[in-house]
């Protein structure tokens, strides 16, 4: 068993689940906040939310 002594170190078993959560979270947030589709469907649906969350819109 490998034990990490430094208090700030992340135990190796925790790296992957946390990383997956971060990647999924960023994908969801950036997709909703930033994607522009050619038909403007996503933009128009997300319009009020983007303005109110201070994402650059238009």
């Amino acid at each position: 068993m490998k034990t990490l002594t430094a208090s700030t170190a992340i135990s190796s078993a925790k790296i992957l689940p946390g990383l997956c959560a971060i990647v999924l979270g960023l994908t969801v947030v950036l997709g909703l906040g930033f994607l522009q589709d050619s038909n403007n469907y996503l933009h128009n649906a997300a319009h009020d939310g983007r303005h109110s969350a201070a994402f650059p819109c238009h």
Partner: protein
């Protein structure tokens, strides 16, 4: 990967609750301002045929969906950070919520303030680029400043917090907005308050829910 599934479940619940609260706040506070600002816009010919949600339940429903899903995404970032640092409880959650508010709202808004529809701005991609760079620099800056004990990392972190604002956000050569200035200022104040409430609630709920699970 059961830990991952637990993080997703916690974040989904926190995000939906936070998103619901934010939607209620927005419905009574910022939506009336957005609708008022749209009265000053004349629809351009190329946009008039695009699909748009109908005002009322459809439009509000999409905003609720947007807030719930972004809440889910933000809650994933909070719960994963707490999971990595073995933290749980609403007090830690409030701290991470405050960090999220600074990273994703306050710092980008210092350069690109929340805008009502009909505001003339610099080219979209340059603003999106600056926004992303600012959020990333602020996240790394705060980590360096608060989560480390080495002096050089703290100095580096503080510099990263300031850097995007020294570079400056892209702005149009001539600023122009259709809605009156007073409406715009009101919008900035209300979005700042609403997003603070949203982030702190989101963090507190995620932190509290982390107590319910064992990793």
């Amino acid at each position: 990967m059961t830990d991952f599934r637990k993080l997703v479940a916690i974040s989904l619940l926190a995000g939906l609750l936070g998103g619901l609260l934010l939607s209620v706040l927005q419905h009574y506070q910022t939506l009336p301002l957005i609708l008022a600002a749209e009265q000053f816009e004349t629809p351009s010919a190329e946009h008039v045929h695009d699909w748009q949600p109908i005002d009322g339940w459809q439009r509000n429903g999409f905003t609720l969906l947007f807030n719930g899903l972004t809440g889910f995404g933000f809650a994933l970032l909070i719960s994963a950070s707490m999971y990595w640092r073995d933290q749980r409880g609403y007090l830690y959650g409030l701290g991470w919520g405050l960090a999220g508010y600074l990273v994703f709202f306050v710092s980008p808004s210092l350069g690109l303030s929340p805008e009502l529809p009909g505001t003339e701005s610099a080219e979209l991609h340059s603003r999106q680029g600056w926004w992303l760079f600012t959020a990333a620099a602020t996240a790394m800056g705060l980590s360096g400043l608060i989560l480390t004990k080495q002096r050089w990392l703290q100095i580096g972190g503080a510099s990263l917090l300031v850097l995007p604002h020294l570079i400056g956000a892209p702005h149009p050569e001539v600023a122009h907005a259709l809605a009156p200035e007073e409406l715009q200022q009101h919008f900035v104040v209300l979005t700042s308050i609403n997003n603070a409430i949203f982030w702190l609630t989101l963090g507190a709920i995620a932190g509290r829910l982390l107590r319910k699970v064992t990793f």
